[in-house]
C-alpha cells in the first residue's frame, strides 16, 4: 500500500493477533448481515414495485419469523460477546512475572520510570518478547495510554493507578497516542514505543547514568519520610509490617478484606485514613499533596519489592527469550 494510505495497522504485540482475529470475525458477520439486508431491500423493492393492476397483499406478521430473527441474532451476538470477554479478560490480567514500568501522565507529556531506574519522556523502550506491565497514574486530568500497534489502551486517571500489559512481538518504532481528550495539546501528547531486540535493549539499558533502581530510590524515601519509624521489619511497630504484603488479602478494621495491590498501597500512602488495617490506629499522616507521583511510584515499587524473595531487595525482572512464547503471531 501507499505510505499515506494504509488500510490495516501494523501488529506488534501478542494481543494484536487475537484482536485482529476477533475484529475480522465481526467484520465478516456484520458484512454478511449488511449485505443480507441491502439485498433483501433491493430485491423486494424491485420485485414488488408499484404496477398497474397489482395490489399489495395484506400480511399481519408471523410469530415464527419474529422469534427466529430475534433468537438467531442473539445467538450470533453471544458468540461475539464470549469472544470479546475472553480476549478482554486476557488483556486485563497481566502475567505475574511481567516487568513493570511506571507511567505518570500530565498535560501534555508521558513520563516513564523503569524499575531498573531509567527514566524516559514520551518514549518507551521495551524488548521483544518480554511481558511488560504499565502502572499508570495522572498528575492532572484523565489521559489514555494507547499504542495502536499493540491494540492496547487504558485510561490514565488522577488519584489512582490503572494498569495494562502487553508482550511486544516485533522490533520497531510505534505510535504512542493519548486517546482521552485532555486539553489544548491533546493531539501533541504523542510519543513512541521503541521495541528492541533483547541484546539491543540490554545495551540501551546499560547506556545512560542511573541513580539507583526505582525500589532503591523508594527505600531512601522510606527512610527520609520517616516511614521506617512505624513500619518496622524487626519488631512490630505502630504500623503494619510491610514485608510480604503485596498481592495478599488484608483484613481491615471495618471488617472488609481487600487485596494489597498497587492501588491499595498508593491509597494507603496518600490517603492513609481510607482503609485502616485491622488492629491498627489511624495515626499515619496523610501524604496527599506532600509527595510527587514519581516519588509515590518509587515508594510503591519499594513496598512491592519487600514481597519478593529475598525480602528487602528490589527484584530485577528477568528477560525472556522471544522463542519461549506460547503463541507467536506474525
Amino acid at each position: 500500500m501507499f505510505d499515506n494510505f494504509p488500510i490495516w495497522p501494523v501488529a506488534a504485540s501478542s494481543h494484536a493477533f487475537w484482536e485482529d482475529l476477533l475484529y475480522l470475525f465481526l467484520v465478516a458477520v456484520c458484512t454478511a448481515m449488511t449485505l443480507l439486508i441491502f439485498a433483501a431491500v433491493a430485491i423486494l423493492a424491485t420485485k414488488y414495485r408499484r404496477r398497474h393492476g397489482r395490489e399489495a397483499t395484506p400480511i399481519h406478521g408471523s410469530l415464527l419469523l419474529e422469534i427466529t430473527w430475534s433468537v438467531l441474532p442473539m445467538g450470533v451476538f453471544l458468540v461475539m460477546f464470549v469472544g470479546g470477554a475472553v480476549l478482554f479478560f486476557k488483556m486485563r490480567t497481566p502475567p505475574r512475572d511481567a516487568a513493570e514500568v511506571y507511567v505518570v501522565a500530565k498535560q501534555w507529556m508521558w513520563k516513564l520510570q523503569h524499575t531498573e531506574g531509567q527514566r524516559e519522556i514520551n518514549e518507551l523502550h521495551v524488548p521483544v518478547g518480554r511481558d511488560t506491565k504499565l502502572i499508570m497514574t495522572s498528575q492532572d486530568v484523565i489521559h489514555s495510554f494507547y499504542v495502536p500497534a499493540f491494540r492496547v489502551k487504558m485510561d490514565v486517571i488522577p488519584g489512582r493507578y490503572t494498569t495494562m500489559w502487553f508482550r511486544p512481538t516485533r522490533a520497531g518504532t510505534y505510535h504512542l497516542f493519548c486517546a482521552q481528550y485532555c486539553g489544548t495539546m491533546h493531539s501533541g501528547m504523542i510519543g513512541e514505543v521503541i521495541v528492541m531486540e533483547p541484546a539491543d535493549y540490554q545495551a540501551w539499558m546499560s547506556g545512560g547514568p542511573v541513580a539507583g533502581s526505582l525500589a532503591e530510590n523508594g527505600q531512601a524515601l522510606f527512610q527520609q519520610l520517616g516511614c521506617s519509624t512505624c513500619h518496622r521489619f524487626d519488631v512490630q511497630g505502630r504500623g503494619p509490617n510491610l514485608i510480604g504484603i503485596y498481592g495478599k488479602p488484608v483484613q481491615l478494621e471495618d471488617g472488609r478484606t481487600v487485596v494489597a495491590d498497587e492501588d491499595y498501597i498508593r491509597e494507603s500512602i496518600v490517603n492513609s485514613q481510607a482503609k485502616i488495617v485491622s488492629g491498627f490506629k489511624p495515626i499515619m499522616p496523610i501524604f496527599q499533596g506532600q509527595i510527587s507521583d514519581e516519588q509515590l511510584n518509587a515508594l510503591v515499587a519499594y513496598v512491592k519489592s519487600l514481597s519478593q524473595a529475598p525480602a528487602g531487595q528490589a527484584g530485577t525482572p528477568e528477560l525472556k527469550s522471544p522463542g519461549t512464547q506460547p503463541e507467536s503471531p506474525k
Binding site: P6, L26, Y48, E66, G83, I157, G159, Y181
Partner: protein
Amino acid sequence: MATLAVSGERKNYLNAEYGIRSWLFTTDHKRIALLYLLSITAFFFIGGFAALLIRLELLTPAGDLLSADAYNKAFTMHGQVMVFFFLIPSIPAVLGNFLIPMMVGAKDLAFPRINLISWYIYIIAGILYIHCLVTGGVDTGWTFYPTFSTEFSNTKVIEAGLAIFVSGFSSILTGLNFVVTVHRMRAPGMTWSRLPLFVWSHYATSIIMLLGTPVIAITLVLVVLERALNLGIFDPTRGGDPVLFQHLFWFYSHPAVYIMILPSMAVISEIVPCFSRKRVFGYNFVAMSSIAIAAIGFLVWAHHMFVAGISLYSAIVFSFLSFLVAVPSAVKVFNWTATLYKGSISFSTPMLYAFGFIGLFTIGGLTGLFLASLGTDVHIHDTYFVIAHFHYVMVGGAVMGYLGGMHFWWPKISGRMYPEGWGRLAALIVFIGFNLTFFPQFILGYLGMPRRYWQYPPEYQVLNVLSTAGATILAVGYLLPMVYLLWSLRYGKPAPDNPWQATGLEWQTSSPPPTFNFDETPIVTQEAYEYENMPLPEEVTLER
C-alpha cells in the same frame, strides 16, 4: 408565513390569526412545532458550521487552519449544539409536536401552555449557549469529563453547563406532555393496540426524556458546583472520583442516543407501510421493541467506560447487556424489510429516505457490536471508529428519518407539495455524501487515529481528505431541501388532504389542518395501517 396558506373560505392553523404575537403567544401545538422547526434549523446551521471547520482543519495533518484551542472549541460546539440543540429536540419537538395530537385524534397536547413554555425554555437555553459561544466558548468536548472540565479548562464551562441544564427542562416538559397526551387524550376507539407506531416510539422516547434528563441536569450542576465552589466531588485530591462523573453522564447520555434514534424509527414505521400500501409486518413486535430499547437502554451506560478503569467483571456484565439492546433494533430492521414483501412499492422521496435509513442504521447498529464486544472495544474506543459508528446512527439514522418525515408530512404542515424530482435527487446526494464522509472514518479508527485530534500523523491524510470531500457533498444534500421546501411554500402545488392516501388520522383532516385539528372528534374503528381499504394515491405528485 400566514400569507402562504391557501386563500379562500377555509380557515387553518396558519391563517387563523396573523401577526408576530399570534405566534409568540400561541398554544397551538402545530404553531409551536413550527417555532421549534425554525429554532432547530438555526442551530443545525451553527453546528454544521462547526463541522465544516473541523473537516477543513483535518484536510492536512498539521494543525494549520485553526489554533489548537479554536479546534477544541469547534468540536465541542459541534457536539453540544448538534446533540442538545438539534438532535434531541428535532423529531419529537417538531414532528412529534405537530403530529401526536392529530394521530391520537385530539385537539391539542394535554398541556398546551406547558408546550409553549418548553419552547421558551429551549430558546432561553439557546440564548445562554450562544452567549457562552460569543464570549469565548468552551473546550471540554460535549462530554464535560472532569477533572479537565472542573479544574483545568480555562473556558466558559459553567456557562455551557448551565445552558444545557436549562435545555433539559424543555425536554422533560415535552416528554411529560407526550406521555399524558397518549394516556389521556386518545379519541374514542383509539386503543393502545391501534396507536400508530409513530406514537408508540415517541411514547418510549418520552419515558427516557422524563427519567434520564434529570440525571444529566444534576450531573452538570455538580460540575458547576465543583468549579465554582471547589467542592470535592470529582477531584481525587479532595476525595472525589473523576470516574463517578462518567457513570452519571452516560447514565443519561447513552439513553439520549435512543432519544435521538427512536423518533426516527417512528417516522420510518409510518413511511414504509404507506409507500408499500400494506400494514407494517409484526405491529406488536415493532411497538414492543421501542419499549424494550427504552428499558434496556438504561442498563448499558458503562460500555462507554470499558477502558476507564471500571472493574473487569462489571465490564463483562455491561458488555452482555449492550449486546442485548441490539436485538430489538435488529427486530425493527427485519420487520421494515419484511413489510416490503408482496407490497406495492413506490419510490417517492420519503421512501428513498426510509431505504437510506434502513441501510445506514443497519451499518450504524452493526458497528455498535464492535464497541459492545470488550476485546475489540479496547483498540477502537476513543478512535474515529466510534465517531463513524455514532454518526451512522445519529446522522445516517436520525437525520435521514427527520428529512424523510419532513418530506412525508410537508404537504400536511405547509399545505403545499414539494418538487418530487428535486426531493429524490437530494435524498441520493445525502446518501452518497454521507457514506463518503463517514465510511473512511471506520478505517481510520481501526488504524488507530484518536478522536479530537487537531493534528495527526501523515499516514492518515488520504482517508481524512476523502472524508472532507464527502462532507462537502453532504452539505449540498442538506442545503437543497432547504431551498426547494422554501420555494414550495410559494410555488408548490396546493396539497390535497391526503396526498399519499395514508391511513393515519392526521390525513383525515384538511391540509393544513384547522386550529383544533378536526371539525368533529374522529371515532376510530380499525387498526393502524389498514391499507387494504385505501385507494392508491393519484400520481399528482410524480413528475413523470
